[in-house]
């Protein structure tokens, strides 16, 4: 989503002064003026689309992401992934209505919001939230629900990095800490009223920075701190069910339309553009990954095809509202190229056991997308950028946004992991890991033998 005008009232108030004065003068014909100036409209088409979009983001998380990840781990750990994804999502959604929404979207300073809407204080059925079209509003409950799922899925993305070895309680505690000190400020900076990064002009339509880079770096730090899985490199750790992974990838694709086109907040041509771009970038990314593997290794894999889809989706996320369809194809294909490197070349360099390639796909894909948004938004490349849009300038801004996110989220993650480690320990025991988290942490096994 673009920086949200929801509480953007401070300077706005000044801008309204002339109108208000005029309003005084026109008190003789008040009704006509009020109608012309501001009468907020809630369109049921928007509500229908935003409710649908919200449930699509839930669909992305459970069962989508849960299956995408769950299929990739060994059979003895699949339930641990499923419960982590579902519980982290649930936890964050609850924290969201407790304090998250207020801190992310309340008007505070450039870095964080305020405590005005703790526990949704003051929000009622009649409360309205802004969209990007002035006078077009949404019931605030819709906006709260939509945004809660963004926070929820971001937390859930991280668990892929330290999969198959982290303690369940540690996952939950880390998630709460990271959500509070990394997600909320960065969301505020990018989307909140008066947010620092929004002020700089960072383009991030649907959350490439806030969601993907943010989660990617948190995962990477976790992979380092939690350490590699027992037996890595000696024992086979092949995915236990790639059909599940494919279902997951497909549901991510389907649900991502809510994520991306929903971020437009209205069911209009803007949503349609974001929608088409999301479709095309993913298709191009699938073809690109399949082609690269086919050329390089002689065989194209289904896992590559599924990974390509996710890479394309991540890549187009920040760009989907501002680039054109041909730009979307390019971004999708290039995101695949970069992520292929992210999960192979770069992975070998980093030497972290980022088990399910959260950084390789979401981190790298997110960075690629954020940068390319600064390129393909240019009108000359089919984008919707204004006449004075400068690619070089925008690239600088995008890079700054990426850098700040990497730094902020990386630092918070580091401290959060260390704290959790000090309090309870991050990892399960060696034998428990061998036997599998399903039985040792959750007391059950996924499949009848």
């Amino acid at each position: 989503m673009k920086s949200l005008p929801l509480f953007r009232n401070r300077r706005g108030l000044l801008a309204w002064l002339p109108s208000l004065a005029l309003f005084g003068l026109l008190l003789l014909a008040p009704r006509a003026h009020a109608a012309a100036a501001a009468a907020p409209v809630v369109d049921k088409g928007d509500v229908a689309w935003m409710l649908t979009s919200t449930l699509l983001v839930l669909l992305m998380t459970v069962p989508g992401l849960a299956l995408f990840y769950g299929g990739l781990v060994r059979a003895k750990n699949v339930l641990s992934i499923l419960i982590q994804v579902m519980t982290v999502f649930s936890l964050i959604v609850v924290l969201w209505v407790f304090y998250g929404y207020s801190l992310a979207f309340g008007s505070g300073n450039a870095v964080i919001g305020n405590f005005g809407k703790l526990f949704l204080h003051g929000v009622t059925k009649d409360s309205l939230a802004n969209t990007f079209t002035s006078a077009v509003k949404l019931p605030e409950y819709v906006f709260i629900a939509f945004q809660s799922t963004f926070a929820g899925i971001t937390g859930a993305l991280i668990v892929g990095s330290f999969a198959e070895r982290m303690r369940f309680g540690a996952v939950l505690l880390f998630s709460a800490l990271w959500f509070t000190f990394a997600y909320l400020p960065i969301a505020h900076m990018v989307w909140g009223p008066g947010g620092f990064l929004a002020g700089l002009g960072v383009l991030d339509f649907a959350g490439g920075t806030v969601v993907h880079i943010n989660a990617g770096v948190a995962g990477l730090v976790g992979a380092y701190l939690v350490g590699p899985r027992v037996g890595l490199g000696h024992e086979p750790m092949k995915p236990h069910n790639l059909t599940f992974t494919m279902i997951g990838a497909a549901l991510l694709w389907v649900g991502w339309f809510g994520f991306n086109a929903g971020s437009n907040l209205e069911a209009n041509a803007g949503a349609a553009l974001a929608f088409l771009n999301t479709l095309l970038a993913t298709a191009a990314a699938v073809l690109a990954w399949v082609l690269i593997e086919g050329v390089h290794k002689g065989k194209s894999s289904m896992l590559g095809c599924a990974s390509g889809a996710v890479a394309g989706l991540v890549g187009i996320t920040p760009a989907c509202g501002t680039v054109g369809p041909m730009g979307a194809l390019a971004i999708g294909a290039l995101a695949s190229v970069c992520c292929v490197w992210g999960v192979s070349g770069l992975k070998k360099i980093l030497r972290a056991d980022d088990a399910l390639d959260v950084f390789g796909v979401h981190g790298i894909g997110g960075i690629t997308g954020a940068l390319l948004t600064g390129v393909f938004t240019a009108a000359s490349l089919g984008g919707t950028g204004a006449a004075d849009f400068s690619i070089v300038h925008q690239l600088g801004i995008q890079a700054l946004g990426i850098g700040i996110t990497l730094l902020w989220s990386g630092t918070v993650s580091l401290l959060a992991y260390l704290l959790v480690h000090a309090l309870f320990g991050l990892r399960v025991g060696h034998d428990a890991e061998r036997e599998g988290l399903d039985i040792t942490s959750h007391g059950e096994s996924a499949y009848e033998e």
Binding site: P236, M237, K238, P239, K297, K299, S301, L303, G304, S307, V343, S344, K347, K348, D357, G360
Partner: protein
């Protein structure tokens, strides 16, 4: 009595079962196994991670027969399980001391 253990290719099961039935064998017990031998495996690649898979899917058939039926049975398996390519599998014969049919308590030859 002899226990004949045969490691065969999975797709040969029906042929072998038929041949064994014709040879007069009254029962077979089959397990899914993985075999390592001369037949080369393959490499699997999952994103960045490569796994060399040496173990190939095979079936193990276990048949207990009276000594008198041994030759015919071995012949039947050899004929029906053979494709001529590496990996066709092996037959191992060993001695069984006693056989019991659980349902009736019948012993040895009567139990088969």
């Amino acid at each position: 009595m002899k226990l004949i253990s045969c490691i065969i290719r999975p797709h040969k099961l029906d042929d072998v079962r038929e041949a064994l039935t014709i040879a007069g064998v009254s029962g077979i017990t089959v397990s899914e196994v993985h075999g390592f031998g001369r037949q080369k495996g393959h490499t699997e690649l999952y994103r960045g991670a490569e796994y060399v898979v040496d173990f190939l899917p095979k079936l193990k058939l276990e048949v207990v027969v009276e000594d008198s039926l041994l030759e015919t049975t071995l012949e039947a398996v050899q004929q029906s399980a053979k494709t001529g390519a590496i990996g066709d599998g092996k037959i191992f014969v060993s001695t069984v001391d006693t056989a019991i049919r659980i349902r009736t308590g019948e012993l040895d030859a009567d139990a088969l």
